[in-house]
Amino acid sequence: MIAQFEDVIIQTLCRLLIPFIQLFALYVIAHGHHSPGGGFQGGCILGASFILLCVAYDMEEAKRRMSEKLNVIFCCLGVIIFGGIGVVCLILGANYLDYGILHKLLPVNIPEARSLGILGIEIGVGFTVMAAMISIFLNLASSGEHEETLR
């Protein structure tokens, strides 16, 4: 569906921009737990960087860098990180997602454990949102054929 033409300006600019976009996305994710931002927004930006890649080059290029399989694994991994942290809290004897208890595992005190726990969650959310963004885009852009390569 995407027109197959190449534009040097766009491609070069994108190549320059994408690393910075991704860096910014990581920053947003990493700062989510104590300032505006978070996994959600960061994940969106991260996803957008790949979408930009698709738009500027073509889908094959994007898929070469981020295969569908990897994408789905990221998607699942994010949720597993999220749920896993909750379950770890559960195993350590606190309530689900009660990160304070993580101080038993990590060499930090309770408030810092809470903070780190949320960071972990944000990372998980970031993964999933990014993967979902890319997956939705690829699906729509390929008018649904993308999923057929997944088997």
């Binding site: 998607c75 699942c76 909750g86 606190a94 689900y96 009660d98 990160y99």
Partner: protein
Amino acid sequence: MTSSPFPILIVIVPLISAFFIPIIGWWKRNLCYPLVILSLFFCTLFSILTLNAVIQNGTIHYYLGGWHPPWGIEYVVDHLNAFVLAIISFTSFFVAIYSKKSVEQELPDKIVFFYAVYLLLVTGLLGIIATGDMFNLYVFLEIASLAAYALIAIGEDGAPLASFRYVIMGTIGACFYLLGVGYLYIVTGSLNMADLSELLPKLYHSKVVLVAFTFFMVGIALKMALFPLHTWLLDAYTYAPSTVSALIAPTMTKVGAYVMIRVMFTVFKPDFSISLFPITSILGWLAVAAILFGSIMALAQSDLKRMLCFVIVAEIGYIAIGVGIANRMALIGAILHIVNDVFMMACLFLVVGAIVYKTGTRNIYQLRYLHRKLPLTMAIFVIGALSVVGIPPLCGFFSKWYLILGAFEAGKWVFVAVLLVSSLLNAILFFRVIENIYLEPREPSYAHDGGGPEAISIDEAPLSMLIPMFVIGAGIILLGVFSGKIIDVVIQHTIPPTI
């Protein structure tokens, strides 16, 4: 504060397994099925343990992340929850066991994603039931619905369009629900059910609360397919893959009914929902329409699955009529019917799935001689059918019995008549099918040759399908025989004390 972790585990186990499945599926595809079975087995185990704990020690509260309500999300499991949780997880467990062969036949190249979405659907359903937070309920409602849209869409020819309609209707329903939540939030500033139920009585005369309540009822009625809002259900459930119908048909609408009871009698107190607002009588009459419409339209169908879809519309009417009558007996009947209906519908849809698996047809008139080919499956079908008709030792009778008693108590004779007429209509409905399956009309001259199509030999459905059907069929009988016990131990605690 830590308490029994079961309420959260019931939801979290299928959720995490759902996301493990794609990963494991790539490594070894055959592992998906055991993983689903394993996780749902634990889920069922936990929910039964929870039910046991609730029966012994009363309501369980679980605070997510240790945040106390009304700030944090709270999972509350009382008798009603625990019971419905156990039933839903039990059913989805057995439908999952059943799914193996059917999915391999109908969706050979989508097994991995099918199971992932299947578990998500179960997560959504269990989450709806377990949560004690209005907004969390919305989220789970949408998780379940989204999974359902996706699962329905992979069905046969008309499925995508049916699913699309379901998306539109379901989203409107969910949005109405969300609007209701919003209205309640602006007047009370709380989203916690228990908290709301304490804050609301002072505001019962506020118009905002009234509007919120109306939005809730419309939204939930859409989700549970109450009569005029049932149109999405028919196509969607008919065209879905067999396993999917077998899971969604019994559970989704019943969970909707559960939400309705929860909102009407926990969030709002009975004195609001019954006396301040004529919602119960509206519900009652809509239910009457649903029962008659569903039963009569079902008569006109030649597709077995579509016929069952109309039966669901009628069965939802039963639950709504119980809520509409809103006295103790009728509510017992309604809650009992939620459970019974899960079993009956699961049984019937599983059987239909087995028929489709073995013969590839669902047309009632092409089922002839099937009792020779699938004797056990057909026997189970008869059990399910008789239960829907309301033949006593089977569970369908008992909920009807309580509903009738409730209608008598309320002096609503029309409802009694409708309940009785509908059981007659159901009898016509199912005996038409049974007759087509079991009787082998032949020319009178052949009546005594002792023959018949002997060529048709037993060719039963595979064991992985038979066992779940058998368990559910046995469940129908046991639920019926022990309904008094169930009511004593569980259901009578679920009725609000002011009724």
